[in-house]
Amino acid sequence: MKLSVLVNEGPYQHQSADSAIQFTKAALAKGHEIYRVFFYHDGVNNGTRFAVPPQDDRNITHEWSSLAKEHGLDLVVCIAAAQRRGILDENEAKRQGKDGDNIAEGFRISGLGQLIEAGIQSDRLVIFGD
């Protein structure tokens, strides 16, 4: 089945980013397709490569990036939510006159239309958040 996931909460906030990762892993393990993971509101903070959690703690952003690499996941960060919270890719950094970008590997920045499209194209949309 084709599933999409919406993440509305940042990493290390409560538990939703962890729940979303565990759900995504379980769905892939059962042979389902993850059409897209969309990060909205504070969820965009999942997509910064500048976070450095303690070494004995899980690295949520790395987990997303390696899942994306392994399974070709489409990890999409909402552009308006990202700009408010300082999540930038190379293009956006240039466009906004910032001195660097911080988007993590496997993530891309795009618009809310990508969430709507995921909802239309997928059999189920599962929401994780605060």
């Binding site: 409560h14 379980a26 599962v126």
Partner: protein, 102 residues
């Protein structure tokens, strides 16, 4: 239409479980995850309400989130099924729609 409702807040903190139970039609499934698992334990002030809901709904609780809170399956009310993340995925595919009460 019967569907899957997920509840991720403790019933001692928020009212989302009440809201979910009020909106869920007969035959719907309720899956308790994250702090929502506190609703699944017996002997609490909400336990009677949850037991009553079992006559209209299937209620599930996410086992890893129970364990993460230092509780075990024998604290869980009889009639509530404990599932793992794979079971969560199965419930999502089994029901036509998923409503996450956040």
């Amino acid at each position: 239409m019967p569907m899957l409702h997920t509840v991720n807040k403790s019933p001692f903190e928020r009212r989302t479980l009440d809201t979910a139970l009020r909106h869920a039609v007969k035959g719907s499934a309720i899956l308790l995850i994250e702090d929502g698992v506190y609703a699944a334990f017996d002997g609490t002030v909400v336990a009677d309400k949850v037991k009553a809901a079992l006559s209209d709904h299937k209620i599930y609780v996410l086992g890893p989130d129970v364990a993460a809170r230092g509780m075990s399956e024998h604290h869980v009310i009889d009639g509530i099924d404990v599932v793992d993340y794979g079971g969560f995925v199965d419930l999502v595919t089994e029901y036509d729609k998923v409503q996450s009460w956040l």
